[in-house]
Structure formats: structure tokens, C-alpha cells
């Protein structure tokens, strides 16, 4: 080899070449190691070394990527860093540009979780068939959560706003940390033992998979499963689904939504009550109309002498019915009386005696038949009884005086048929 053939690089040139090689060869790497020499200057970029027993590599996580980290990075932490290798020209040292960082154990945790979920599903803990319906109108709501978190505030204010007539049984527990699963299990079992709770809200604000560990605990899952009251789970955000959510009878995305699911809105219940009262009034009104039609039919279909007593009795009953319905409606509904106006109007018009009192009479066939309802019939039967408010008189029909125009046509058709 001659000197003429020797290639002489400038420092920057060789660094650039090595950087190209590095970046080309390792565009995406995942490196497991321990964090050390952690520094976060004012720029917000995070500088650290990744090391193991005998080696280390410089690493940087730029501010925009560091912001997306969902855990606290600290010296000594075991992490998996993902990113690209590059060369820092100014120092001639190579480094990792970490685009994402996660705690090293997380993968194991997720695997363990998947295995547990599969096992509990196999056992039937998540079966849709065993999910219980929530009571429409709970009387006592148990709230199992941290007494200091945002979750409890959201739950209580939502219940206060929607349905303040319930009783809330607060069951304070730790929702994260080593003691959390045992406390949650104890709380759910205590609620079951009481037997007087209609619905349970179990929840906390969202968090990382480590924070939610208690809600992925097998013991907690089984306690939810055996709880005698239906359980609404409310663990954090939409994206944080835990085993507790799978086992719970109803899953709510947030604590506020859990409270909305657990209790009805007072205004809606009041509207429902009003609707039922209105329906009852309309039905009763219809029932009274029915009774009235039967009394009318009764009067028409029997000889006056035989039915006088029965008619009187029926009239009295209708009078009495009207009175009672008015009293019940009036005393209970008070100012809501306007709503039962339709009922009142129908009640007022139903007494046949009121009609007779106003100067009308009922014409009945004297030969023991039905009420006479047309001119044709009156002329035909001739001998009739006239029923007045205070009694009856016999009469003879001597001829036809006049006919209503519309009625005549119908009568003519009827005769010529």
C-alpha cells in the first residue's frame, strides 16, 4: 500500500461516516439496562447512562418524547429504552436517542396479567350471564375508594346532584400500594356481610399499570364476584381496563359515570311518577265511562218498572265513585290538579240523573222492551213510558212531527231495505 492510496479523513468527516453506519445499522433498538447519571437541564431533555454490570452507553431522551413517559424516571431504575443509535459529533461518542422508556418489569406484568385474565375468563368470572341488573331506585349506595382522591369527590357530587335521597356508605380503602388489594377485599366482604347495600361503586382515578395493580388482583376479582350487591367498577380512564372492570356487573369509564349509572336522575323519576298518576287517572276515567255505558245499556234494555231500583243503585255508585276519585285526586295532587282536569270533566258528566234533572226524559217501550231511540221506533211501538228525574209517565205516540234531515235519509234507506 502506498501513501498515495491512503485515505486521510478530517475528524468531522470520519465522525459523519461512522454516524451514517450506526444509524443505518441500528435504526431501531431496544436496550435493557439500569439508569444512572440522570440529568434534566433547563432544556427539558433528559440525559442519562444506561448500564449493566460491566458496560454503559450514553442516552438522551428529548423533551417532546420525555413528556410522554407515564412513570418517574430515576437513577437505579431498570428500564427498556427504545430508539436509534447515533454519534454525537462534538464528542465522538456514540449514544442512544431514546424515543420511549418503560419500566423493565412491565412486560412480565402484562404477560402475567394476560394469563390471569385468560384463567378467570375460563372459570366464568366474566360471563355476561352472571352480571346482575342494577336496582332502578337504590336505597343505599356503598362507595369503595380512597377517601382523599378525586374519584370520591366526583362520585359524591354526582349523587348529590342526581339523587340526593339515597344513603351513601363510604368504605375508605387504599387504592394503590401493597395494602390496597386486601383492604378492597375486606371492604367488599364487609358490604356483603351487611346485606343492606343495593349497589356498590368501586373505583379510583386512572393511572399506570402499576398504579392499577390492586384492580388487577385476583383476590379483588373474586371478592367482586362473590359480592352480594351488584358492583359498578370505575377505574380511571376509558383506556385503563382492569380485571375489576371485567368482573364487575357494570363497567363505567370514570367515577362520575359510575355514579350516573348507579343512581337515577331525580327529575326523571318525578316525571315517571307524574306519568303513572296521569295514566291511572286516564284509566280510571275510562273505567267510569265504561260503567256509564253499561248503565245506559241497562236502562235501554229492560222495562222501567223492573230496573228502577237497579238504575238508582248504579247511579248512586257512580256518584260515589266520582266523589271518591275527586277527593283522592284533589287531596294528593294539590296544585297538580290541572293534570287531572280530564278526569274531573268526565266524572262530572257521567251521572245520568244530572241529565234528567236538566229537563231531559228517557223514552222506553211500554211493552217491556228497550229504550226508544228513533222517531220510526216511537211511531211503531206507540205506547211508551217517559222517565223523568222524579218518576215516570205513560204516553201514546200519535204521529211523526219532523225528522232531522240526515236522519231521514238513513231512515228511508232503512225502510226500503
Amino acid at each position: 500500500m502506498s501513501f498515495a492510496e491512503e485515505r486521510i479523513f478530517a475528524v468531522g468527516e470520519i465522525n459523519a461516516l461512522v454516524r451514517e453506519m450506526l444509524e443505518g445499522e441500528f435504526p431501531a433498538v431496544a436496550i435493557a439496562g439500569e439508569v444512572s447519571n440522570l440529568r434534566v437541564p433547563a432544556s427539558g431533555h433528559v440525559y442519562f447512562k444506561l448500564k449493566d454490570a460491566s458496560a454503559q452507553i450514553a442516552a438522551v431522551c428529548f423533551r417532546s418524547d420525555a413528556r410522554r413517559m407515564d412513570f418517574e424516571l430515576e437513577d437505579g431504575a431498570q428500564v427498556i429504552a427504545r430508539g436509534t443509535l447515533t454519534l454525537y459529533d462534538a464528542q465522538g461518542s456514540y449514544q442512544l436517542i431514546a424515543r420511549s422508556l418503560e419500566p423493565a418489569g412491565r412486560g412480565d406484568l402484562e404477560r402475567a396479567l394476560r394469563v390471569l385474565i385468560a384463567r378467570l375468563r375460563e372459570e366464568g368470572l366474566f360471563d355476561a350471564a352472571r352480571k346482575r341488573a342494577l336496582p332502578l331506585y337504590p336505597h343505599r349506595v356503598a362507595v369503595v375508594t380512597s377517601p382523599t382522591g378525586a374519584a370520591v369527590r366526583d362520585i359524591l357530587s354526582t349523587i348529590q346532584r342526581r339523587f340526593p335521597c339515597v344513603e351513601v356508605l363510604m368504605v375508605p380503602v387504599q387504592v394503590q400500594g401493597d395494602a390496597a388489594p386486601a383492604q378492597i377485599v375486606q371492604a367488599l366482604d364487609a358490604i356483603s356481610a351487611r346485606g343492606d347495600v343495593d349497589v356498590v361503586i368501586l373505583g379510583r382515578g386512572g393511572g399506570s399499570i402499576e398504579d392499577l395493580a390492586a384492580f388487577n388482583d385476583e383476590g379483588v376479582a373474586r371478592a367482586i364476584h362473590r359480592c352480594t350487591a351488584p358492583v359498578v367498577s370505575a377505574v380511571g380512564h376509558e383506556s385503563d381496563v382492569t380485571i375489576a372492570d371485567f368482573v364487575a356487573d357494570v363497567r363505567a369509564a370514570t367515577p362520575t359515570m359510575a355514579a350516573e349509572i348507579a343512581v337515577p336522575a331525580r327529575a326523571e323519576v318525578l316525571a315517571r311518577i307524574a306519568g303513572l298518576e296521569r295514566a291511572a287517572a286516564v284509566r280510571l276515567s275510562g273505567r267510569i265511562d265504561g260503567a256509564r255505558r253499561r248503565v245506559d245499556a241497562f236502562v235501554r234494555s229492560y222495562a222501567l218498572g223492573r230496573v228502577r231500583g237497579s238504575v238508582e243503585h248504579a247511579m248512586q255508585r257512580l256518584d260515589h265513585a266520582r266523589h271518591r276519585a275527586e277527593r283522592a285526586t284533589g287531596s294528593a295532587l294539590g296544585e297538580r290538579r290541572a293534570r287531572s282536569h280530564a278526569l274531573d270533566a268526565r266524572l262530572a258528566g257521567l251521572n245520568p240523573r244530572d241529565v234528567l234533572r236538566r229537563g231531559y226524559a228517557v223514552v222506553v217501550d211500554a211493552s217491556g222492551g228497550s229504550a226508544v231511540t228513533s222517531v220510526t221506533e216511537a211511531v211503531r211501538v206507540r205506547d211508551v213510558h217517559l222517565v223523568f228525574n222524579d218518576g215516570a209517565a205513560s204516553a201514546s205516540v200519535t204521529g211523526e212531527l219532523a225528522r232531522d234531515a240526515g236522519q231521514r235519509e238513513r231512515a228511508v234507506r232503512g225502510v226500503s231495505k
Binding site: 336496582p135 332502578l136 331506585y137 337504590p138 336505597h139 380512597s146 377517601p147 382523599t148 382522591g149 378525586a150 374519584a151 366526583d154 359524591l156 340526593p164 335521597c165 339515597v166 344513603e167 351513601v168 356508605l169 363510604m170 368504605v171 375508605p172 380503602v173 387504599q174 400500594g177 383492604q183 371492604a187 364487609a190 343492606d196 343495593d198 379510583r204 382515578g205 386512572g206 393511572g207 398504579d211 380511571g236 380512564h237 370514570t254 362520575t256 331525580r266 323519576v269 311518577i273 303513572l276 298518576e277 295514566a279 291511572a280 284509566r283 280510571l284 275510562g286 273505567r287 267510569i288 260503567a291 255508585r317 257512580l318 265513585a321 271518591r324 276519585a325 283522592a328 285526586t329 294528593a332
Partner: protein
């Protein structure tokens, strides 16, 4: 359940049953009236219950450590 008198849920269920009975049209006038009167009374009972304005909150302290719970604040909700 826990209350000696009719619970709200039972009162609502009864009111709904009464309306269903009245709709069934199989009742005598006298029975219809009785049901109607009962329905109106139930409606008032339910309304009185709903008028209770203040949330009653009790804390279950049977396990003894309820008072000195030292959990850090949860993350934000929503």
C-alpha cells in the same frame, strides 16, 4: 329491605302494577277506585321521598383503620 315501611323501589313497583291493573280492564268499578286511590297515595309517598334533599353519608369504620387512611391523592379523573 332495611326500612320497615315500603321502600321507594317497592312503592314505585306497586304504582306501576296498579297502572297495569287499571289498564287490564278486568277490575270492577269499586276495585278500580280502590287501586286509583292507592296509586295516588303511593305517588305522594314517592314524591315525599324524593323531596329529601340532603345526601346522607355514613362511613364504614368496622375495620378500625378507616380514620387514619393515608393514601396519596389519586390521579386526575377524566
Amino acid at each position: 329491605m332495611t326500612e320497615p315501611s315500603l321502600t321507594f323501589e317497592a312503592a314505585m313497583a306497586r304504582l306501576e302494577q296498579i297502572v297495569a291493573d287499571l289498564e287490564g280492564g278486568k277490575l270492577s268499578l269499586e276495585e278500580s277506585l280502590k287501586k286509583f286511590e292507592e296509586g295516588i297515595t303511593l305517588g305522594k309517598t314517592c314524591r315525599d321521598f324524593l323531596d329529601r334533599a340532603d345526601l346522607r353519608i355514613r362511613t364504614l369504620t368496622a375495620d378500625g383503620d378507616a380514620g387514619d387512611n393515608s393514601v396519596e391523592a389519586d390521579d386526575d379523573d377524566e
